[in-house]
């Protein structure tokens, strides 16, 4: 390949453009084995111990500052999960938003991960592999010699056993498996197994996944699965059910030697003590109660020392710190290996030219003094590459552009695989809060801060007071709903109607991810929706583009808070984007933009004319009852 061609390739696919992994499932850069080798080996060893002894009460803690490679290390563990003998399951857990739904959140995150397309054949998802393991055990125990031999050949050839089983065999296998597992483990939920088995059928798969995630099911789906509806269940009952399902799942994972590693990342986004305690509760449960699950927490070193250790119960910190891995920066040799590996992802160069177009001695000098975090290495080399390619000093990229590029990438990632980002009320609420908190000045409405209500939090997400010139203040209620059950939807709409009837000038906005059904046969619910509209309520169904944008905004906010979005300044200094710059980005990107994903919200609130939305007088107990969120990032620590 000619020099010009190689330079062209580097221009088109600059391998140093991104120094942030974002989500390990999306990671596509190669791993350099020598970087953080000790931590990786330690985690693999821990996982091997857990596989050998699923009841082992242990957890892991990865400490590393911004850019030290925490998320990349998780990507490496994910890659290893399919190569390990035996393989193990992997779940990447984003920070919890609502501490009142701790177990439901954990269950949902686990199931979303287990249902993601698997990286290795023959099973489409990790959950399918688990299901196959259950069937194989009972079939081996009950089959005649010929059947056993056939099964062994299927396994030897790494084929999907589920595709070779006829319906009658499935029926027998399910009965045998349910009997075996419930007899062996008294705490095993028979209903959990009953629904898990229906995951293999295409016609019930979607409903089974919804139920396994803890969702409220549409009555028809509940009927199809043969499970009772959850709509009447209290929050406490639903939490208990989620906990029981996690216990059952853990027993299955443990029995079949496929333990699950749960990686809790971006924990800097746990803003309130309630959220941190919810995290602690999850760790305690996973270590002490659930079998076959190994929690790993990734935290910035200083944050761990100064925030988490001060808030979390010692019971939790001691469990995490027992297996602590501190990440280390790159030596010069490791930095050069990192550069080589990134270049190799684009150029197929001979070993002698593996550092093309850089000068090896120059790179050596650049990183010869002290350790450098992988992110610093990538950022400095990126700057050098841009300099080489443009022959002039590379123009520094503005914070706005940096955020815009990261945001666009996130939107594209979500749109490419929309199913991986299921309707999520908490994340929609955060996105809405961020938008409303920062779309100031240029608008017909302004919002100093928002808060969650003290009562009816199950249905109402945010409240505020809209002030219109000299006239009286107008209460505003924002309801976000992703429930698939008509009774739950109806309950949300009823709260909206109550607000509108209590005060005629009140403004209520009902927002729903359009993927959540609202079919015409929900007669009573549709009538309620019409009544809501007739009373002046605003209804917004987020289409795919809008929803993707909302979720992308929330995930970007996590990344910014973690210090994951960095830029190189004019002085060649690498620094993370600040919260103030993120706020300015939101204002710039969404304010007054008619085509934006928030146009319907803007239209609903802006319809009131030249108004100012201000905070409702904050009840004194607000801080102690939960997150007064969303907090404007500008005021966050």
């Amino acid at each position: 390949m000619t020099v010009d061609r190689r330079l062209d390739l580097l221009k088109q696919q600059n391998p140093f453009a991104s120094s942030s992994v974002g989500d390990p499932w999306d990671g596509h850069y190669p791993h350099v084995s020598s970087i953080n080798e000790e931590a990786f080996a330690g985690l693999c060893h821990l996982m091997a111990q857990k596989t050998h002894n699923p009841a082992l009460n242990c957890a892991g803690l990865i400490l590393g500052e911004v850019g030290s490679g925490k998320t990349h290390l998780l990507g490496r563990i994910l890659a290893y999960s399919t190569q390990a003998q035996p393989p193990f399951a992997f779940a990447y857990i984003q920070p919890i938003e609502d501490p009142e739904q701790t177990y439901r959140y954990l269950l949902r995150e686990v199931m979303v991960n287990l249902c993601r397309p698997a990286h290795a054949a023959p099973y489409a998802t990790q959950l399918e592999a688990l299901l196959a393991a259950i069937y194989i055990e009972v079939l081996l125990a009950h089959s005649r010699l010929q059947g056993t031999h056939k099964l062994q050949i299927i396994q030897r050839d790494n084929l999907n056993v589920l595709t070779y089983m006829r319906p009658p065999v499935f029926a027998y296998a399910q009965a045998w498996a349910a009997d075996l597992l419930c007899r062996t483990y008294p705490e095993m939920s028979a209903r959990f197994l009953h629904v898990l088995f229906q995951y293999r059928l295409l016609e019930t798969r979607a409903a089974a996944v919804s139920w396994l995630k803890g969702d409220l099911l549409d009555p028809a789906d509940a009927d199809r699965l043969g499970v009772p509806e959850r709509v009447q269940a209290s929050a406490m009952r639903l939490e208990q059910e989620a906990r029981d399902m996690l216990i059952s799942l853990g027993l299955v994972l443990a029995r079949y030697g496929q333990p699950l590693i749960l990686c809790f990342d971006r924990l800097e986004n746990l803003e309130t003590e309630a959220q941190m305690h919810a995290f602690g509760k999850m760790i305690e449960f996973l270590v002490d109660t659930a079998k076959g699950m190994l929690p790993i927490a990734c935290v910035r070193g200083q944050q761990w020392q100064e925030r988490f250790r001060q808030v979390l119960n010692q019971h939790v910190t001691s469990r995490l710190e027992t297996n602590r891995f501190t990440l280390q920066g790159c030596t010069a040799e490791q930095a050069l290996a990192l550069v080589r590996s990134r270049l190799a992802s684009v150029l197929d160069a001979e070993p002698a030219e593996a550092l093309f177009p850089f000068d090896a001695a120059e790179l050596q000098r650049m990183f010869q003094v002290g350790f450098h975090s992988p992110r610093v290495v990538i950022a400095r080399v990126n700057d050098r590459l841009r300099h080489l390619l443009d022959a002039e000093r590379a123009t520094p990229v503005s914070p706005l552009q940096t955020l815009r590029e990261a945001f666009d990438r996130q939107v594209q990632t979500i749109q490419r695989d929309f199913q991986r980002y299921p309707p999520d009320r908490d994340r929609l609420r955060r996105a809405l809060g961020l938008y409303l908190s920062h779309s100031s000045a240029q608008h017909r409405f302004r919002l100093d801060s928002l808060q969650r209500p003290l009562t009816e939090r199950k249905y109402i997400d945010l409240v505020g007071i809209l002030q219109s010139g000299a006239s009286a203040s107008t209460p505003v209620t924002l309801i976000i709903d992703v429930e698939p059950h008509p009774a739950a939807v109806s309950a949300s709409l009823s709260r909206g109607i109550d607000c509108l009837q209590a005060e005629s000038s009140s403004q209520v906005v009902y927002i729903r991810d359009a993927r959540c059904p609202f079919p015409p046969h929900w007669k009573a619910t549709n009538e309620k929706l019409q009544r809501f509209k007739a009373l002046g309520g605003h209804v917004i169904f987020l289409d795919q583009m809008q929803a993707a944008t909302w979720y992308a905004l929330t995930l970007l906010s996590y990344a910014v808070r973690e210090g994951d979005i960095t830029l190189v300044t004019a002085e060649q200094q690498i620094r993370p984007v600040s919260h103030e710059e993120f706020a300015a980005f939101i204002q710039h990107v969404f304010d007054g933009d008619a085509a934006s994903a928030f146009r319907d919200v803007e239209a609903a609130l802006g319809r009131l004319g030249d108004t100012v939305l201000s905070t409702e007088p904050a009840p004194s107990a607000a801080a102690s009852t939960g997150p007064a969120e969303p907090k404007p990032p500008a005021s966050s620590p």
């Binding site: 030290s68 920066g329 002290g370 300099h387 022959a391 210090g563 300044t569 620590p637």
Partner: protein, 250 residues
């Protein structure tokens, strides 16, 4: 015309070396650093192979410049002897290990070691062994420690290596302040040690240079203005807030 070009290139390269404070640069660095007009006039681009660049540049380098062949690359620099190159680099980095020095000079291994041994024999350069047996080089005239009163703020201007006592004192305070933590705030160490800024940063740079400590960015939002002032900013303007001890105390 040819004479003009010769003088032109030689002076431009010398000016570039002067500006960058270096005695030598790689050939590609020299080409990249030349103004675009002479670069175009000579038909030079950084994408050309080094050998081709040297063929075009060498006739224009004059008496004051020299082409060096290093183990990894070719360099253009001031016309200096190997001994002068070694002394110049040790002056910039007192305490540098003999191995590190070898990788940083535009010399092949054999002439480098021959010249270094000659300097050691004459006593112009002395070699001491660190606790980890790393041989460190210093110039005789740089061995006298600077008095505390010479509170030069710039680390560059403090041409001395941290003494073993300072390193031990640093480690003791790290242990005391950190109480077992892997991430200890730099400002707390600075405040506990009560050294001059120059002395503290000299020791810090020395510990960082041989991978004894690792510096981290940390979270500035958790710090006061005074804390930030007492943290550490490197020559690239990067702020470091915490550090981790990686090596053995020495």
């Amino acid at each position: 015309m040819d004479t003009d070009r010769l003088v032109d290139v030689e002076q431009l390269v010398l000016a570039l070396l002067q500006k960058q404070g270096k005695d030598y640069l790689t050939v590609k660095q020299v080409v990249a650093g030349l103004p675009s007009a002479p670069r175009k006039r000579l038909g030079l681009t950084t994408s050309q192979p080094v050998a081709a660049l040297l063929r075009q540049l060498t006739p224009h380098l004059g008496q004051r410049l020299h082409v060096y062949k290093g183990s990894r690359s070719s360099y253009i620099g001031r016309n200096l002897s190997p001994e002068e190159l070694i002394v110049g680099r040790i002056r910039q980095r007192p305490g540098i290990s003999s191995k590190q020095l070898g990788t940083q000079l535009p010399l092949m291994k054999k002439p480098y070691l021959t010249a270094l041994n000659a300097l050691l024999k004459t006593g112009a350069v002395v070699c001491t062994l660190r606790d980890n047996h790393t041989p460190c080089l210093m110039l005789v005239d740089a061995q006298v420690p600077l008095p505390e009163t010479a509170s030069v703020e710039s680390v560059e201007s403090v041409a001395s290596v941290a003494s073993g006592d300072d390193r031990l004192a640093f480690k003791a305070v790290y242990d005391e302040v950190g109480q077992g933590s892997d991430f200890v705030r730099i400002h707390r160490l600075r405040e506990a040690l009560e050294w001059t800024r120059a002395r503290f940063e000299r020791v810090l740079m020395d510990l960082r240079g041989d991978y004894t400590v690792e510096l981290h960015g940390g979270d500035p939002s958790l710090l006061t203005a005074t804390d930030l002032h007492n943290s550490y900013m490197d020559e690239h303007g990067t702020l470091f807030i915490t550090l981790s001890w990686r090596g053995r105390s020495s």
